[in-house]
């Protein structure tokens, strides 16, 4: 597939937005300005960006612990995202969800998820709704290699295929389930081998190549919308930082050489190099993107810092939808 410069630059912008957001979040966490846990998406930007660039605001995604990147790629704005990470009332979740539950239903992002594998069945539900409503939308479930070992993934994949739902299963194989390497937890090398067991096509793509991911997503989406059911895309990728936080806390579960090798394949810089080489864009073009977005990040941090914490009277608000909010009893 050939993509226009506009599409390519859009995907680049999504990747840079994720990178800058995550780097800033990491710095804030190290400065003890973010409460709670933080799972950074740095290194995996091409996956969320390539997939989400093929989706509309009305297509839905479900996410993982490592969910900021998915929300940024789906169109999440920096200000309410940063405010949510800082547990402020102006956050997307009004300070009640934080990093692990960050969401924005207005752009079809059905939440980061604190439970490994739990997003996949929810994506099946969204996909079911799309099919029943005939709205021409798809639901994409992002999940890691580790979550393909949990029952919820299996049930979701089987059900989506049995019911031929418009669902895309996007596996981000970053080779580690938390701190344990993939080869200790499964007897296969490629997650995509599992696709055949559900009766869906599976494709391996270079998870550091946003264009390859975008292309695979478009094909899977077209297949889903033809009524042929789900597809599994396995993106081979890598997280540059730790499972949570930034530093490795002195824990050695992967070698420095391995990390360095993957960083050589940085999804953003390699993309920029290819674009410059092909004459599609110049280094100046890219520098302008980075500079503009850095200003947006600084603005978002300021906004979040200036925002109030939730008032105590918000503690019990939204445990339930009140009857006056809808047509209920």
């Amino acid at each position: 597939m050939e993509f226009s410069t506009e599409v390519l630059m859009d995907m680049h912008r999504r990747m840079v937005r994720i990178r800058l957001f995550e780097e800033a979040a990491g710095q804030l966490a190290e400065a003890a300005k973010l409460p709670g846990f933080l799972h950074l998406y740095v290194g995996q930007e091409a996956v969320a960006s390539g997939v989400c660039a093929a989706l509309t605001d009305d297509d839905q995604i479900t996410s993982t612990h490592r969910g900021h990147g998915h929300l940024v790629a789906k169109g999440g704005e920096f200000r309410p995202m940063m405010a949510e990470l800082m547990a402020k009332s102006t956050g997307y979740n009004k300070g009640k969800g934080g990093s692990m539950h960050i969401s924005n239903l207005d752009v079809g992002m059905l939440g980061a998820n604190g439970i490994v594998g739990a997003g996949a069945p929810i994506a099946v539900g969204a996909g079911f709704g799309n099919k029943l409503k005939g709205n021409g939308n798809v639901a994409a479930a992002f999940f890691g290699d580790g979550s393909t070992n949990i029952g919820a993934f299996h049930e979701a994949a089987n059900m989506a295929c049995a019911l031929k739902l418009p669902v895309l299963f996007i596996c981000e194989n970053n080779e580690y389930g938390e701190f344990t390497p993939r080869d200790k937890t499964m007897a296969i090398t490629d997650i995509v081998d599992r696709a055949a067991g559900y009766g869906m096509p599976g494709v391996i793509v270079d998870g550091m190549d946003v264009v390859a991911i975008h292309e695979a997503t478009i094909e899977a989406k077209e297949r889903a919308l033809r009524g042929e059911g789900p597809s599994l895309i396995e993106a081979k990728t890598y997280r540059f930082y730790n499972h949570h936080g930034v530093q490795n806390l002195g824990l050695k579960y992967r070698t420095d050489d391995e990390v360095a090798e993957w960083k050589e394949r940085d999804p953003i810089f390699t993309f920029e190099d290819r674009m410059v080489e092909a004459g599609t864009a110049t280094q100046d073009d890219f520098e302008q993107v980075w500079a503009d977005l850095r200003a947006d990040i600084a603005d978002a941090i300021q906004f979040a810092e200036d925002s109030p914490s939730p008032e105590p009277d918000q503690l019990l608000v939204d445990v339930y939808t009140l009857s006056e909010e809808g047509a209920a009893s």
Partner: protein, 329 residues
């Protein structure tokens, strides 16, 4: 106009009428399509509304609930069936961590109008994995609503309210009541969630019971009336939210109260009801709050053992005689 139909027909009628009135309502579960469900709760619905809206699912409880959560959060009004209440344990993550929490942890932006239906209760020699009353587990989770109707009239009104409710509700059908006959209006109606019914008025002692135990309490009360003991029977109908006010008002009148349930006594809802009574009506009590419940053991298979395991009208009768024999203040 009302006529006599069974408890399970009342359930079925509520679903059918809501599906006819609202095309966002759909049903999904194991065997519920052409077969109509193992309890025939969904009989005839697939024929009337089609395979798209009455969906036979794989035996995948996590994915069944996930299907409901994802579809509910994206604008549908799902009814998903977990055949036996024991099987909610298989789907507990989707119920407890996803459905119940989505509204709150997303800062109010999500609405989850999901109804989960299931068959609970013992008395069928169905043994330890098909007989449990697990209402205490689910009533403990903020974000869920739980109903356990004791008769056909309440079944239809509560099921209609569950379907129209904008929060996740769990409708527990008692398996021993499926064939119970009662007067049920033909037209749709709602019984508001969180409102108890006084099944029998009395002056001497209050018995609080739900599901089949409410009916056992009425049977006991009728026998005791012959001996001049005047029993008031309260069926909360909804266990979360619990209509504490009606119970307290009754206890202030009778000064003696027994709570009866099929679930095991330790940590059962009877403990919660007893605690609330002593908080709100301590000075009115002439005797400690009585609890009649299953002993701390799995449900036995043997009919001879199960008869000893489950509370009964006879056991309630004896407990009432004991509590009224105790000298008052």
């Amino acid at each position: 106009m009302s006529r006599k139909i069974s408890y399970v027909q009342a359930f079925n009628e509520a679903v059918r009428q809501e599906m006819a009135a609202d095309d966002t309502v759909f049903c999904a579960g194991e065997d519920i399509g052409a077969f109509g469900g193992v309890f025939q709760s969904y009989a005839g619905l697939q024929k009337e509304f089609g395979e798209e809206r009455v969906v036979d699912t794989p035996i995948s409880e996590q994915a069944i609930i996930g299907l409901g959560v994802g579809a509910a959060a994206t604008g549908l009004r799902p009814i998903v069936d977990i055949m036996f209440m024991d099987f909610i344990c298989v789907a507990f993550d989707q119920i407890v961590n996803q459905a119940a929490k989505m509204k709150y942890m997303f800062g109010g932006s999500a609405t989850v109008p999901l109804t989960i239906t299931t068959g609970g209760g013992g008395g069928l020699s169905a043994a330890a994995q098909h007989s449990q009353s697990l209402e205490a587990l689910i009533c403990h989770i903020p974000g869920l609503k739980v109903v356990m109707p004791s008769n056909p009239y309440d079944m239809k009104g509560l099921m209609t309210a569950c379907i129209r409710e904008n929060n996740p509700t769990i409708m527990v059908k008692h398996k021993r009541l499926l064939g119970m006959q009662g007067e049920v209006p033909e037209e749709p109606y709602m019984i508001p969630l969180g409102r108890a019914a006084t099944l029998r008025e009395g002056a001497d002692v209050t018995v609080v019971g739900w599901g089949r135990m409410a009916n056992e309490a009425v049977d006991a009360a009728e026998k005791l009336a012959g001996d001049g003991i005047d029993v008031e029977v309260i069926d909360p109908r909804t266990l979360q939210p619990l209509d504490t006010a009606t119970i307290i008002e009754s206890v202030r009148k009778t000064n003696r109260v027994i709570v009866v349930h099929e679930a095991v006594r330790f940590g059962g809802l009877g403990a919660e009801v007893a605690a609330q009574i002593q908080e709100e009506a301590f000075d009115y009590l002439d005797a400690p709050v009585g609890r009649l419940a299953a002993p701390f053991s799995p449900v036995p298979f043997s009919p001879a053992l199960e008869a000893h395991y489950l509370p009964s009208a006879n056991a309630i009768e004896q407990a009432v005689r004991d509590i009224v024999a105790r000298p008052g203040a």
